[in-house]
């Protein structure tokens, strides 16, 4: 997982390296400050013989004064060093903060870009395997989680261990004995703390699932607000919600109670250390020549202040380290989800040097079988043989689930056949350059969407360089010009995300116009006029027949009226083409067609 993610760092490698380097320098300076301070205090206190020696980093420089009053120059020297160090530490702190921000924001940008590009190359089959909402979460929340984790990694995750090691090392230079106590306490802290987060995490993971349940309750209640009210089930819903909420409270309280013990544990260690330093350091400073001091060495008062500082640093860094660890573990799930997308290879790619010219709108299916799962035993289409000539109008009819959409989606190669071959213009679709093929096969999908932007911009999707006249022309063909012109902003009317500000029928007509503007060789309508009234539906078909005589037109419909005049009507049942013929022929030969026709026209006949 890490390897795949790391590939997205790219041009932000330098910043990613600089950030921890700057952090390291900052940490070094920070731990040195108490060291110099202790030198200063030792200087002020003087040694047992009353001499005030000028020492740096605990090393004697040889200079000393017998009286503090004469040592003002040395004091100023200490001051200069200390202020310089604090200033430098500040500078590097700022530098590392900046480098870290640049690196993590850049990394996140690259990650989003890689994901988005990857998804653009997905085939329909790839898209089908992911829920739309889950793709959105991966690109948004998950990337943000990784960004935060990365920020922690190149700053906090470096800072804490470094701080720990440096503070411990310097504590050793002051007194190996006390440093050993620190080390022992640190290990004890880790031992005590290690159990807590992992136990809490286990509960948290469980809680997150319960959260989903709570959200589901709210979501269903909100979406079905009318149902709930119509059936007077407010109390019933409230009870369901209460149970879910209570469940969360119990588990969350458990997890948080476990975590609540972290700070008391840290306090035990911290206060324990303070008591121990006070006891041992006092003996070591006072140095009555006991065996104990003989064994562990003596100390000065200044060393005591440094040691106390180091104890705090060690504890703080341990705490930070544990927190960083927990945060990073929490983002592992996000990382996995991102990598899953990044590692998905598109199941359908454009061939190298594919044909860029589509000769004609002829379509041929040769023994085509297709299965969404690639499993020949579970075919959505079976042994389809078809021949459609350029310029023909073909209707496709069949019950829900009879694979009408599946059949037509093979033509622009949205999916690859499992068996057999689909030919357009006499050539297998797999030999075409994908863009070239899809440019000539316009398809109006059943689940169609408009994008936020003006009507003009939306229509231009079909042909990026279309002139305004061409746009109006296409809309006229799709019977959309009239209603567009009635809008105050006409063709510049802004379409909201998802096209929510136009009616269903208007949306369908705009989608048709978008497909027609490319003047394609093949046009496929996948139940594209279901929300359009019969009269307009007929007008669209008529204008298409007149202005695009050479284009092959394939129309999937529920209404027999939509396909009655077609050159050919295909009847699909359970993934098989069971009948092919004109309206008149099918009235004779196809039970399914006749039944559908009769249901839809029955009452009119009675009244005729």
């Amino acid at each position: 997982m890490l390897k795949t993610l790391a590939k997205s760092i790219r041009e932000y490698k330098l910043q990613s390296i600089l950030s921890p380097v700057f952090v390291a320098i900052e940490v070094f300076l920070e731990v040195m400050i108490p060291m110099i301070c202790s030198d200063l205090i030792n200087f002020l206190q003087g040694d047992l013989f009353g001499a005030h020696s000028f020492m740096l980093f605990g090393m004697p420089t040889g200079a000393f004064v017998a009286n503090v009053g004469e040592g003002i120059g040395f004091v100023l020297a200490y001051s200069g060093i200390l202020i310089a160090m604090a200033g430098l530490s500040l500078t590097f702190g700022i530098l590392s903060g900046r480098a870290c921000a640049k690196a993590s924001a850049g990394f996140a940008k690259n990650l989003r870009e890689d994901l988005f590009y990857k998804i653009q190359n997905f085939s329909f089959e790839n898209i089908d395997t992911y829920l739309t909402s889950s793709l959105v979460t991966r690109l948004t929340t998950d990337v943000t989680n990784i960004q935060n984790a990365y920020m922690m990694l190149i700053r906090g995750a470096i800072r804490s261990p470094l701080m720990f090691v440096a503070a411990l090392a310097l504590a050793f230079t002051k007194s190996w004995f006390i440093a050993l106590i620190y080390l022992g306490m640190a290990i004890l802290l880790v031992a005590l703390m290690a159990i807590l987060p992992s136990r809490a995490m286990r509960i948290f993971r469980r809680v997150f699932k319960k959260y989903d349940k709570l959200n589901l309750r709210v979501q269903e209640d909100v979406r079905g607000a009318r149902v709930v009210k119509a059936f007077v089930r407010e109390d019933f819903e409230t009870e369901k919600f209460d149970n879910a909420a209570e469940d969360i409270r119990k588990d969350f309280t458990k997890a948080e109670t476990i975590l609540a013990f972290t700070s008391p544990i840290v306090n035990i260690i911290m206060y324990g250390i303070i008591i121990m330093i006070c006891a041992f350091a006092s003996i070591m400073i006072v140095n009555t020549g006991s065996d104990f001091v003989g064994a562990v060495g003596s100390l000065q008062i200044g060393d005591l202040t440094a040691l106390v500082q180091y104890a705090m640093m060690i504890l703080m860094s341990m705490m930070m380290l544990i927190m960083t660890f927990v945060m990073i573990t929490m983002s592992i799930e996000s990382g996995n989800r991102i990598v899953q997308v990044l590692n998905t290879e598109s199941t359908l790619t454009s061939p190298d040097g594919g044909l860029t010219e589509v000769a004609s709108g002829d379509i041929e299916f040769e023994n085509v079988s297709f299965s969404y799962a690639g499993d020949e035993n579970k075919c959505a289409l079976m042994d389809v043989n078809l021949k459609i000539n350029a310029g023909e109008t073909v209707g496709v009819l069949g019950a829900t689930g009879s694979s009408k959409s599946t059949l037509v989606q093979l033509i622009p190669r949205l999916y690859d056949v499992t068996k057999g071959s689909v030919k357009v213009g006499g050539v297998d679709v797999r030999q075409y350059d994908l863009d070239a093929l899809r440019g000539e096969v316009a398809m109006v999908l059943q689940k169609n969407v408009l994008f936020s932007g003006t009507i003009k911009e939306n229509i231009r999707w079909g042909k990026p360089d279309a002139t305004d006249e061409e746009i109006v022309e296409a809309c006229r063909l799709a019977q959309a010009d009239e209603f567009i012109s009635s809008f105050p902003d006409g063709y510049d009317t802004y379409i909201e995300q998802g096209g929510t500000n136009v009616s269903g029928g208007q949306r369908q007509r705009l989608c048709i116009a978008r497909a027609l503007i490319a003047n394609p060789k093949i046009i496929i309508f996948d139940d594209s006029t279901s929300a359009v009234d019969t009269k307009t539906d007929a007008l669209i078909r008529k204008s298409m027949a007149e202005s695009l005589p050479n284009a092959t037109k394939i129309i999937i419909a529920q209404r027999t009226a939509s396909v009655e005049e077609a050159d050919k009507i295909l009847i699909l049942d359970n993934g098989k083409v069971v009948n092919v013929g004109t309206h008149a022929e099918l009235m004779e030969t196809s039970d399914i067609y006749r039944e559908a026709y009769n249901i839809q026209n029955k009452k009119e006949d009675e009244n005729a």
Partner: protein, 664 residues
């Protein structure tokens, strides 16, 4: 849906697509803050804590104070150790004999700190989760009482995020921010007291440091939160674009629009990167700067103190008054220790600023929902089980009799009358507007006798669904009257009214659970046999039996594992199970194929037998056999009559029927 960035809102009138430069933005935000009345939502959150956990919260407060004070006293322990034991011993003025007793005393004090720390942390976990639970439950209860118009107005994602993002911000606030703020404040206060005790000279140096820290925190914290707003905006745009593209991914592919999509995305992505870099830079450098100001302060104290010691100046502080023996060096050491924890407390507070902002806007949204005026229900006529006495009068029955009656208490004379539930509905000159001033129904009058089938025909927006919404009182009428079995429906309790209406809505909504549970939703007391009976009536039994688990098949995410037609059949079965005397069918068969539709229609025909039915349908074939057909146009009934009458009239219905007129 792309959500308004949590935490901070842009000032009103600022176009998020065209942000002004930071200076202007800052001024505008300041202005906005000044003009908005003081926000009380956070204190309302605390009121929840207070009223539900008074005792625990007091204990928590006391414990926090104890913990913080002892923590501040740590430096006194050290200072006193040096000045009372070490220095005298080193200088030969004393010895360490008293040390064990002293340390034992300190140890006892620390134990108290640890115990109270543990107490408040554990209590706080309970308090915060308990409070959140109460808030959540309150939210849901309030939400159940909200009128349908609320749900029309808000997108479901928006409501969802109240329960997720906003409550989560409150969790952070109650469980972390509040204790942290109290703790830090007490720490600061205690530290100042200790510092005053130590030395009045040195506290002057600290004062300089504090001023510097507050200036920096204000400046950088302010810049950080402003850039944060910009970042949230950029993030919102990127998220919106992602959402749109992912939903339209197949369309993008069909139109070979990938390249364009990539470059559009890049543009927004880079804008987000730039905003994120700035926002994070400020956020990242705040801590090092605060920390290093702490370091500089530490150094300055050491320097000033040392120079004073070197110059032989004497200290001036409470400690010297209390104990003249206290040495300046021990004071300096104590001061150096406490100044560290002091600066840490200040940066601790500065770290919470963003969380406070988040919690504030979260709680504002939560309370906005909770303060929304609930749907009124002052009805007092209730639906009760009834039995017919031999003399023909009707009285209330405790057992299920199959007979229902309206229990109508009359305030004037204190009597109660019972009216048998028959399903007779009348509307008299009803006007209605969703938005005041924009009347969508004009002067609607209609009579539906028990057992009659009334159909509504008309284009989208003509007001068909609105009439149905009024009968079930999803909205209340402006003018005119609706009577149900002769009773004004405003007098009928909403729950009773809706219990008497069986509704199949335009949009099918199923719930997570088994098919059986979903059908039983119509009548929670229905036996398994009754459920199957209802399914058979709706023609749903056959397909249910073909499912691997039959009636125990689990439905997930609104029945996504079923076809549209099957979902519609289930929703009809659910209504059948309710067995109400009045049925309302709103476009139940719009998007299914003819064959399935015929199946659904057969189920509905059986269901409609013997009931008063209101039906809306796009396809005229569904409504032709109605007793009355109402043709609606722009909120008015323009034609009414049976199919044959309307055909003979050769009006709008006739033109619709012959296809000479289009329905939109």
């Amino acid at each position: 849906m792309p959500r308004k960035p949590a935490g901070m809102e842009l000032p009103e009138g600022v176009d998020p697509n065209n942000l002004p430069d930071l200076k202007t933005l800052r001024k505008m935000m300041k202005e906005q803050r000044k003009n908005t009345p003081k926000d009380k939502s956070l204190s309302r959150v605390m009121k929840y804590v207070w009223s539900n956990y008074k005792v625990s919260f007091i204990v928590v407060l006391v414990c926090i104070v104890i913990t913080a004070v002892i923590s501040a006293l740590t430096s006194v322990v050290l200072q006193n150790l040096i000045s009372a034991y070490i220095q005298p011993a080193v200088e030969g003025r004393g010895n360490l004999d008293g040390l064990p007793a002293y340390l034992a005393l300190c140890g006892a004090m620390f134990c108290v700190a640890i115990a109270s720390g543990a107490t408040f942390n554990v209590l706080m976990a309970r308090i915060s989760q308990g409070t959140l639970n109460i808030i959540r439950k309150d939210m849901f209860r309030k939400m159940q009482k909200l009128p349908i118009s609320y749900f029309d107005r808000k997108q479901s994602g928006e409501i969802m995020s109240l329960y997720t993002n906003d409550v989560d911000a409150l969790r952070q606030y109650i469980s972390q921010t509040v204790p942290q703020l109290i703790n830090s404040s007490v720490m600061i206060l205690a530290s100042v007291v200790v510092m005053i005790y130590y030395s009045l000279y040195l506290i002057l140096v600290v004062a300089i440091g504090i001023v510097a820290m507050f200036l920096v925190a204000g400046k950088i914290g302010g810049a950080s939160s402003r850039y944060f707003v910009v970042q949230q905006n950029a993030l919102g745009k990127v998220n919106g674009y992602i959402e749109e593209s992912m939903h339209g991914q197949k369309v993008i592919k069909v139109f070979c629009h990938e390249k364009q999509a990539k470059s559009d995305f890049d543009e927004r992505n880079v804008a987000l990167q730039n905003a994120a870099t700035s926002a994070n830079t400020y956020a990242n450098i705040l801590m090092p700067i605060m920390g290093n100001i702490g370091n500089i302060l530490y150094v300055l104290l050491a320097v000033v103190g040392s120079i004073m010691i070197a110059l032989g100046a004497s200290n001036f502080g409470l400690s010297n008054l209390i104990n003249p023996e206290t040495t300046f060096l021990s004071i300096l050491i104590g001061f150096l220790t406490i100044v560290k924890s002091f600066t840490q407390s200040i940066s601790g507070i500065s770290q919470q600023i963003n969380f406070i902002a988040l919690a504030r806007s979260g709680s504002r949204r939560v309370f906005e929902m909770m303060d929304t005026t609930p749907a009124e229900d002052d009805g007092y006529v209730k639906l009760v089980r009834a039995k017919k006495n031999p003399d023909g009068s009707i009285t209330e029955s405790k057992t299920h009799t199959g007979l229902w009656a309206w229990k109508h208490p009359h305030k004037a004379d204190g009597t109660i009358t019972y009216t048998e539930l028959a399903g007779d509905i009348e509307m008299h000159e009803v006007d209605f507007a969703y938005v005041p001033g924009k009347t969508v129904l004009h002067d609607i009058t209609l009579y539906a006798k028990p057992g009659q089938k009334i159909a509504f025909v008309g284009s989208t927006g003509a007001g068909k669904t609105t009439i149905i919404n009024l009968i079930s009182r999803f909205y209340d009428i402006e003018d005119g009257k609706i009577r149900y079995d002769g009773i004004n429906i405003n007098k009928i309790k909403k729950s009773s009214l809706r219990d008497s209406l069986g509704v199949v809505l335009q949009e099918t909504n199923l719930f997570t659970g088994t098919i059986r549970e979903n059908i039983r939703y119509g009548n929670l007391e229905a036996t398994d046999e009754e459920v199957i009976e209802a399914a058979k009536l709706a023609n749903a039994h056959d397909f249910i039996m073909r499912l691997p688990d039959g009636y125990d098949t689990m439905l997930e995410s609104d029945g996504a594992n079923l076809s549209q037609g099957q979902r519609q059949l289930l929703s009809i079965a659910r209504t059948a199970c309710e067995n109400a005397p009045v049925l309302i069918l709103d476009e139940a068969t719009s998007s299914i194929d003819t064959r399935t539709e015929a199946l659904v229609n057969r189920g509905m025909d059986k269901l409609m037998a013997g009931r008063t039915v209101f039906v809306i349908a796009h396809r005229l074939s569904t409504v032709m056999n109605s007793d009355v057909i109402m043709v609606l146009d722009h909120g008015r009934i323009i034609e009414r009559g049976t199919h044959d009458e309307l055909i003979a009239k050769q009006g709008t219905y006739y033109r619709l029927y012959t296809g000479a007129f289009e329905l939109e």
